[in-house]
């Protein structure tokens, strides 16, 4: 597996899922940071390298869609949503909000890495565009 250059921000309130996905990303040599809530993510200093946000839909406090809305105006990283069960209205909202992908748990590793690569590319182009 080629290691995409960039950092993944993983936000999920379930520690077991966090651990599992973190381990998966680690085994793929993908640099990543994990957060238990949207608030934690927001308060963290972001690096300048291409990034993507792997975001759980259901979160205590600010939920996934709220966070997406909040980040809409900023030059935040592209978002990959993950959810226990994707109901149609949430999926539509997430995709309309510009999400890269909407994945249901348990998550297919190939689909995840593909989405992450796509997100890094998008973020890289975005940053490049901004620089111009």
């Amino acid at each position: 597996m080629t290691q995409p250059g960039g950092v993944v921000y993983l936000v999920d309130d379930d520690s077991r899922v966090r651990e599992g996905l973190s381990e998966l990303l680690a085994s793929f040599q993908i640099e990543h940071l994990v957060f238990g809530s949207a608030e934690q993510y927001l308060s963290c200093e972001k690096s300048a390298v291409p990034a993507c946000l792997v975001l759980d839909l259901q979160l205590p406090g600010i939920n996934g869609l709220d966070l997406q809305r909040r980040l809409a105006g900023e030059t935040g990283p592209p978002i990959i949503f993950i959810s226990g069960h994707g109901d149609v209205p949430s999926t539509v909202r997430a995709m309309k909000g510009g999400a890269i992908e909407f994945l249901t748990k348990p998550i297919d590793p190939v689909a995840l890495t593909t989405a992450i690569c796509a997100a890094f590319d998008q973020d890289r182009n975005q940053r490049h565009g901004f620089r111009i």
Partner: protein
Amino acid sequence: MGKTFSIPTIRKLRHQHGPIPSKRVSLTISRVDSVTQTGHIDGFTPKVSRSDTDLLLQVWPLRNRLRITRFFAGTACFSTSTIARAEAALQESERSLRMVIETIPALVWSAAPDGEPDYINQRLTDYTGKTLDDFVQSRWASLVHPDDLDMTVKAWQHSVETGMTYEVEHRLRRQNGAYRWFRVQGEPLRDKSGRVVHWYGLHIDIEDRKQAEQMIRERENHLRTIVEAIPAIVSRSTPAGKLEYVNQRGLEYFGGTLEQIGFHSIHPDDRDGHLKKWLVCLDTGEPYESTYRVRRADGVYRWFYVGVEPLRDQEGRVASWYAVNIDIDESKQMEEALRSTQRKLSAAMQIAAAELSASIAHEINQPLAAIVANGHACQTWLSSDPPNIERAQLTAERISRDANSAAQVVQRIRGLFKHARPTKTPVSINDIIGETLSLLAEEINGRVVTTEVDLDRELPVILADPVQIQQLIVNLVRNAIEAMEGVTDCLKHLKVTSQREDTGTLSVRIHDRGRGIVNPQTVFEPFFTTKERGMGLGLSICRSITEAHGGRLWSAPNTDAGTTFTFTLPLEPEVFE
């Protein structure tokens, strides 16, 4: 012999015998100048011609306008045999008349034109214990019942005054003091000029008839009281359906007269249906029953049960229609409230179940997601060069940890369903089936499903939790209805039966004509579902309920189409707990 004949009689005798031969009858009419007060005629000696003759003497006066001017006396001499014959004939005629008068089953009397009684027959004497003397000078009035006296005396006086037929019914006192009812009729005998010369009357005993009448009246009263007192509107209609009687309660309810009551009093939504049924009834002569809303005098509609039965004559034709209308508004309201509660409860349960299933799914899905991620990570660590055994081991540990966590969730769910223990009371399974079907009536009717119910009425009462059993039947019936949702090629038919089994249990079967199920066993697994909506817990809960009651639940395909779900429950309470 001294018998006195009137002049016409003497004339008649003379006429019969022609010129009376002197040897046999001689008639001498002499003028007499005076008649004494005692009737003796001075200076008149009857002339007796022969020893075997009898002398008859009659004296009659001759008047001018003002006074008697002279008297005549006549003597007639008859042969003894002639007189004897005439007398015998007269006696015979009298005897036979008397016999008639004494024999006819009536009390016979006669009275003078002024109303004074002058004869009563033996029966009247026997009945009253009184003689003619006790009747004269209006003393008979004391024998009439005091309540009838006024009317009787007035009627008699009226007849005497006008000469019109006397007709009255009154009670007459018997010798023993008891009164009996009589029908009395008196007719006047008139002379040629039309003057009343005599009254002849009859008392006919009508006590039995009066008593029968009284009894009929009492019975009628009694029946009327019942008809008026029963808490229902009772009515009768002609064979053609025209209303001809409504009891007082009905008139008060409608607040009008008989003529004002009609189909317009029925609620517009129920009117056509009722009218249609009623016309079928009139056409076929079949009884019918139904429920409908009827407007009260104050404009309020109330629910009524109506039952109509025909009364037939001997030829079997409808003679009258009888209808009873019972106010069921309160129970109808309660039923509606119950149904509404059931609907709300059902909706709430569905929401609760949906939330529960979402929560269960989430609870199980989270560790599964972690397991899958760790599994892939583990594979990656092992397949990397060199393999990262340490990390692989760590992920493997996490996999078994998360798998246990998922298993615990399943255990918790089991516990959740297990703790609902039934509260058992004596219940009739048939009653519960009936209640459940009536609760689901709207759902059944709304989906155009025909229903057939065949219940074993001999089933004993069993100990069970009525709420849980109802839930069980609700689930199975709903399941059957939903199974037939997409069916278009045959009739949507739902059949519910109950019966006693040889194994000391009762069984309830719910047959549907749905698409059928592939594997009859898996349907009872939790979360098994073929439906778009629902979480697949319904049949699993059904099985938990039957097992908690010591019964069994299974399904089997029908030979023609659809599926039959059967559950059994033990008849003996000791069998389960």
